[in-house]
Structures are given as C-alpha cells and as structure tokens.
C-alpha cells in the first residue's frame, strides 16, 4: 500500500532532512508518526501527500510507483489522499460547508450529492449549526473539525494528519481519534503525526518514529482503554 525505499529529501542545497527512509504500511493500517520537532515529520508527510518529490529513493503509494507517475496523473491520485494540515488551511472566503465541499467540487461531483454528503458529515462532526459560518468565526476546535471533515469527505484511501490534536483539549482529541478509527475501520489507511504521548499509549497503534531524519518502526502496544 505505502512503501518507501531508501528515500532521502533535502531542500535546495541544504542538508538532508530525511535519510535512507525505508518502511512499508499495509493497506487499512493505522500508524502514529512521532519524533521531536525538526525530526522530519512534516517533510515525510509532504512526500506522502505528493507535495514534494524525494531527492532520491522510491515511493509506492496506492499501488503506484511515484517515479513513474506523470504530472497529469497526479490529480486523480491526490483525490485518494485526505490531508489534515497542522494549520488547517481553511479558505476564509468560503463557509464551513463550502470548505468541506471543496474536494468533491474539485473532483466534479454533482452539486446535489455534494450538499447531501457535506451536511451529513458536518452533522457527524457536530457542526450542523455552523454550515454557513466562515472559518474565522469558528473556534480552534471547530476549525479543526472542519479541516478533518474536508479531509475525509471523499472517503480517501489514505488519510494523513499533521498534529490534528494540537489545538484541542483532551476530550476533543479523543473524539477525533475515535473518528479516525471509524474511518480506518471503513478501510482507510491512517497516518497521524503527533507529539501526544498519552494518546499514542492509549490507542496503542504502531509508530513510525523519526529522529534526525531517520526512521525507526515501533510495533503497537495494544489498546488501553
């Protein structure tokens, strides 16, 4: 499903922020991505959501070798990847509903289908009373839920989340994790970058640990609660 072989990444002439990264994630698996700040977590996510290409090595995503994927094929591939950005990246000139609808509109989904699915999903994340609200009028937690709804509205094959619990209290963090688990049960591969050790321990999923640009795979410890 996801395989990285000897992947390295550097920006410009700078040092390699990722070095000889090798790992394989099975389809439908759930992983945490951890490591200290500056270890390369965001860079690894950028490679996985096809924002960057590695300076060396090979990446297989959703059954395709990225080295042989043309630029014209990228949009269709990206539509199968949902991303929750650390800073949300919501469009403030659009309502919560239109932000969540964006991936469907980009994919050319009929408007009647969009309305139905988006309203359902926003209800599911507890924002049914904020359909027309602009992101700037929502709290941090509400914005985060809009960002998550946007990432999962297309039922992606791969969900990548960068510190999705960073701006919310523990109760909401737990609810978000349950949401990701629900999606994972529906077949989506989930990778969550987080510093929240208690969540990692509580859910007990396997971990991709990054330190100084190098990866160590840690097995899951099993669910505790």
């Amino acid at each position: 499903m996801i395989r990285l072989e000897n992947v390295a990444m550097r920006y410009g002439r700078g040092p390699e922020v990722l070095q000889d990264v090798d790992f394989e994630l099975a389809a439908g698996s759930f992983y945490f991505l951890t490591g200290p700040s500056g270890a390369g977590k965001t860079t690894l996510l950028r490679l996985l959501f096809l924002s960057e290409r590695p300076t060396r090595g090979q990446i297989w995503l959703l059954g395709k070798n990225m080295a042989s994927v043309s630029r014209a094929e990228l949009p269709a591939l990206r539509r199968q990847i949902g991303v929750v950005f650390q800073e949300f990246r919501l469009l403030d000139h659009l309502s919560a509903l239109d932000n969540v609808a964006l991936p469907l509109r980009v994919a050319g989904t009929p408007e009647s289908v969009i309305q139905e699915h988006v309203v359902d999903l926003l209800r599911w994340v507890g924002l049914e009373d904020h359909l027309s609200a602009r992101p700037s009028t929502l709290s941090g937690g509400q914005q985060q839920r809009v960002a998550i709804a946007r990432a999962i509205i297309t039922r992606p094959g791969l969900l990548l989340a960068d510190e999705p619990t960073g701006n919310v209290d523990d109760t909401i963090a737990l609810r978000l994790l349950y949401l990701f688990e629900e999606l994972n049960r529906l077949g989506t591969t989930v990778v969550i970058a987080t510093h929240n050790a208690s969540l990692i321990e509580r859910f007990g999923y396997p971990t991709i640990h990054l330190r100084d640009g190098r990866v160590t795979m840690r097995p899951g410890t099993g669910r505790k609660g």
């Binding site: 959501f49 096809l50 924002s51 960057e52 290409r53 630029r71 990228l74 949009p75 269709a76 591939l77 990206r78 539509r79 199968q80 991303v83 990246r89 469009l91 000139h93 659009l94 309502s95 239109d98 609808a101 964006l102 991936p103 509109r105 980009v106 994919a107 050319g108 408007e111």
Partner: protein, 296 residues
C-alpha cells in the same frame, strides 16, 4: 456556490483597474476602426461621384474683368462636340461664391474675386476622350484653360487613405497586444496572490484545467466589462461627430466630414467587448496553464 468560484479573484486589486485599462484600449480601438471605415466610405463616395466626370477650368483674362460669355459658349460648344461627352454645364458663378464662402468667411467678398469659370463635363464611362487634344482646343479659345480628370488627386487621396487605414489596423493590433500583456501581468499577479490556495487545490486533486477555468472566466468578465466601458464613449463620440456634421450651418461645422459608417464597421465595433472578453479568457488560460506546468 458554483464550483468555479473557489478562488476569491473578484476581490483582487487587478479586478478593479483592469476593466478601466481595457476600456481605454477599446475606446481607442473603436475610434481607430471607425475612422478607418469612415475614410474608406468617404473615398468610395467621392470616387463614385467623380467617375466619368471632368472639370474644365477657364481662367479670367490676365487684364482683369470677367471672362466673356462668348468664350464660355465657344468652349461649351467644343466640349459638346467632342465624342464621348454627354453633357457640359458651366457652374453658376453664384454657386462658386457660395462654395468659397465657408472657407473665406464674411470678411472677404467672394463675388469680387477673379474667379475662373468652371464647367462640369459628363462623359460616357467607356468613352476614350483625348484629353491633350481637348485641352489644346480649349486653350485656343481661352488661354490657360485646363481639363481636370480628378484621377491624380483621387489617386493621392487613395494612397493617403490606405496609409491611414493601415495605421488604424496597426493601432488596433497594438491595442490587442497591449491587452494581452495586461492580462498576462494581471493573471500572474493573481496567481502569486492566491498561490497558497492554488497549492491547496492541487493537493486536493484539482487539475490545472480546474484552476485555469477560474482565472479564464474571471478575465472574460473583466474584458467584457472593460469593452463595454470603452465602447459606450466611443459610440457617443461618433454620434457627436455625426450630429455636428449633420447640423450644417456655417463655420467649422461645414468643414466636418460627413460620417457614414458601413454596417460592417458597426458590427466590428459591437464585437470589440466580446472580443476583449475572449482575448482575456484565452490569455489568462494559457498563462495559468504555463505557470502551473512548472509547479510540482
């Protein structure tokens, strides 16, 4: 919300100034187009009016005083006896004075000037009149008599008109090029301003076409709006010239050319706003696609 309004392009600064810039261009293009067609139409009318016409000029005697009526009658007899000539009529001296009055004004008494006698000669279009022989025979009656075919000055006028029409075409082409450059600049600026959103849309799987469509229809609307902004004052300007020319009277109004534009000219001018819209659409589309092709 329709899927074609993801980028907040309408709020850009470029959206405010572009229609006015394009409006100015369309105003100039409409004037150039109208002027080119007006000159062409005027020349065609002059040519049709003068084809098969000769003007004989009999100068007044060097000693002064008016030309003797007998000499005029003799000249008319020679003309009417010439093969191919269908009519020869001496211009009424009062009519000559009236023609000169607007040019000379009221300060000069045109009737006191030593004016030549002008004879309007009509000939069959197929007739081949020996002009040299005719001139010589008329000069025997009235020394200094000349025969004017109008061909030489009409030819010069045609050349000047052609130059003006080519210049009008070049002006329109330059205006088109300026419009293209303006749209390229505006579109690139829009892409830079909205780069974070464009990146986000790419990551969501938006194709280059999806993003280009938003820029192209935005540019189309601005081009169309600018075209209308420019066309309205241009039409008002043509209306003003037509009004002044039609009003007649005395003074400068008499010297204003009669504005007669063919239907094609009005159609072409009416097409300027949609044409500007299409120029904006195509230019923005190609600019966006070329820029996005360089992105990952």
């Amino acid at each position: 919300m329709a899927g074609t309004a993801t980028l907040p392009l309408a709020g850009d600064g470029s959206a405010r100034f572009l229609p006015w810039v394009i409006g100015l261009m369309v105003f100039l293009a409409a004037l150039a187009t109208g002027a080119g067609f007006a000159i062409d139409a005027a020349l065609i009318r002059w040519d049709e009016g003068l084809r098969g016409t000769l003007t004989v000029q009999l100068p007044p005697p060097v000693a002064g005083g008016p030309l003797a009526q007998a000499s005029v009658d003799q000249a008319l007899a020679v003309l009417r006896g010439t093969g191919g000539v269908t009519a020869a009529t001496a211009l009424d001296p009062q009519a000559e004075v009236r023609l000169l009055q607007p040019w000379l004004g009221d300060a000069v008494e045109a009737g006191q000037l030593p004016l030549p006698v002008l004879i309007d000669v009509q000939r069959a279009e197929t007739a081949n009149v020996d002009l040299a022989d005719l001139t010589r025979r008329l000069a025997d009656i009235v020394p200094g008599a000349t025969v004017e075919t109008h061909g030489a000055w009409l030819e010069q006028l045609f050349q000047v008109a052609l130059l003006i029409e080519v210049a009008a075409g070049v002006v329109v082409a330059l205006i088109g090029a300026a419009a293209v450059l303006t749209v390229i600049f505006t579109t690139r600026t829009g892409l830079m301003i909205h780069r974070p959103i464009v990146d986000l849309l790419h990551l969501m799987g938006a194709s280059d076409n999806y993003i280009a469509r938003q820029f192209q229809w935005h540019a189309f609307r601005l081009g169309l709006r600018g075209g209308i902004i420019g066309l309205v004052p241009a039409l008002l300007a043509f209306g003003a010239v037509k009004f002044v020319a039609a009003r007649g009277g005395t003074g400068a109004a008499d010297l204003a050319p009669e504005l007669h534009l063919p239907v094609l000219a009005w159609v072409l001018m009416a097409l300027l706003p949609p044409a500007m819209g299409l120029v904006g659409l195509m230019t923005a589309r190609l600019t966006v696609l070329r820029t996005l092709a360089r992105m990952p």
